[in-house]
Symmetry: C2
Subunit: 277 residues, 2 copies
């Protein structure tokens, strides 16, 4: 039965280095400006239409609001199997990644004939409405080092990219509960994010991305003591690390973390963006 | 000397299945609507800043107007080495591919700090001004199966994508001299291209892409007798092939051409788009 075929999508992880909070009335126009890295480490989602939706994460039953919202929006009931080589809840954009992977895989498996922009919009709205992300989905759909020039899903948001990619190191230390500043004083983040984005747009290079992200981390004061100590150690070796927004995770290009004596996880910038496998 | 470092970019080939001609006063706004496939077969461009620009293609000295125009626009003199596994002048968008590859590699090698959108715009304008392409560069930058919703380089043009990819077969039979209809009656092409694009947008799937491209080929009457005969043979086996716009080249998904007894070249849809290697 072709309408019960399974399809699998891959979505890169996304580490935001700097961001703004841009809330609008419509979720499709709500989002975030800023910049981040999409990663070859990511999330794989397999969907198979079924009589009743079930979701598993690395084999264990779970519920993921952004995924359920995508299936509702598409009018699909499906068996959804999610697997990832990234840690959950540590700033890798996995809620958005699961939403986008579900949109792509469900569209393919159920023969729905939506375009990429339509599926990105469905996943972005689901992530925004679930309260789990503002800018991950649009970046994950594009791939590379993504600058979010204006907020929201297609056709509202506008993206650009910093050419190139390369090796990325990260240390995922722990989860970070949603900081008060995000819910109560988003204007503080947005002011710092706007300034950091402007500096990056003046010189859009990989090196300046790290500098802008590092300055943003310092400005918003969200780094834990463990994160601060690693960032300081990296700087002592002449490198630059920064903090994933939002998780207790430190990242850097090349060998920035291992040069400082840490034993980080290693991945690369993903050049492709989300795709059916 | 870091300012004499070399950098290499890969750009996928691009087969246009249907297109319009949308000329505007500004080359950045000039372009084409339509749809096409980007391919894992493509062009590799290595740039190294030099005192005087030289261009080689698979080792042999050559001149490529779109490449020279990109270097002029960027203010770079460079040794440019181009290699490709696709045949030149047969509808694979190689002029645009060489322009975009040069833009990416020269930006990287010379440390110019342009963004992706800026480099895409420089390459698109060079391809338009050289008279060698209207819509290849923007599609090649994105990757996948690309719908060009509106013409021109960023931020003018708007793109969407058909999810998925897969195996692509092609037979490159020969060059095609620029047909009179393109220069003298672009309105005929644009009428057929607009109709084919509308059908595709009603049901944006891989299958409909082939149907729309096949209908466009029939409507514009550019197929040679050899192309017509292959398309008919493919249809007899229940498959769909179409003609690359513009080259004497037949393409199809999966095993469309080999099922009809041909021995085609094989590649796949490129998921990533142009990138630094």
């Amino acid at each position: 039965m072709p309408d019960r075929a399974a399809a699998t999508a891959f979505v890169p992880g996304h580490v935001t280095g700097l961001f703004t909070v841009d809330r609008r009335e419509a979720p499709a126009e709500t989002g975030s400006r800023g910049a981040g890295l999409t990663l070859e480490a990511g999330v794989e989602v397999t969907c198979q239409p079924a009589d009743r939706t079930t979701i598993t994460l690395d084999g264990a039953p779970t519920s993921v609001e952004s995924v359920s919202r995508v299936l509702d929006a598409l009018g699909v009931e499906a068996t959804v199997e999610v697997s990832t080589d990234l840690p959950i809840g540590r700033g890798f954009g996995l809620s958005g990644g699961m939403a986008l992977g579900t949109a792509l895989a469900a569209n393919e498996a159920a023969g729905l004939a939506h375009t990429m922009n339509e599926l990105v919009s469905v996943a972005h709205v689901a992530d925004v409405e679930a309260g789990t992300g503002l800018g991950d989905v649009v970046a994950q759909a594009r791939g590379g080092i993504v600058i979010r020039e204006s907020p929201g899903a297609p056709p509202h948001g506008a993206l650009d990219g910093i050419p190139g990619g390369g090796r990325v190191e990260y240390l995922a230390l722990g989860e970070l509960s949603t900081p008060d500043v995000l819910t109560e004083h988003p204007d503080v983040l947005t002011r710092a994010g706007t300034a950091a984005l402007e500096r990056l747009q003046e010189r859009p290079t990989r090196s300046q991305f790290m500098q802008s992200a590092r300055q943003f981390t310092a400005d918003v004061g969200l780094a834990t003591a463990r994160v601060e100590s690693i960032l300081a150690a990296v700087e002592e070796t002449g490198g630059v690390g920064s903090m994933a927004m939002l998780g207790e995770t430190v990242f850097g290009f090349g060998t920035a973390l291992s040069d400082a004596g840490y034993e980080p996880q290693v991945t690369r910038v993903d050049p492709a963006g989300a795709r059916i496998e």
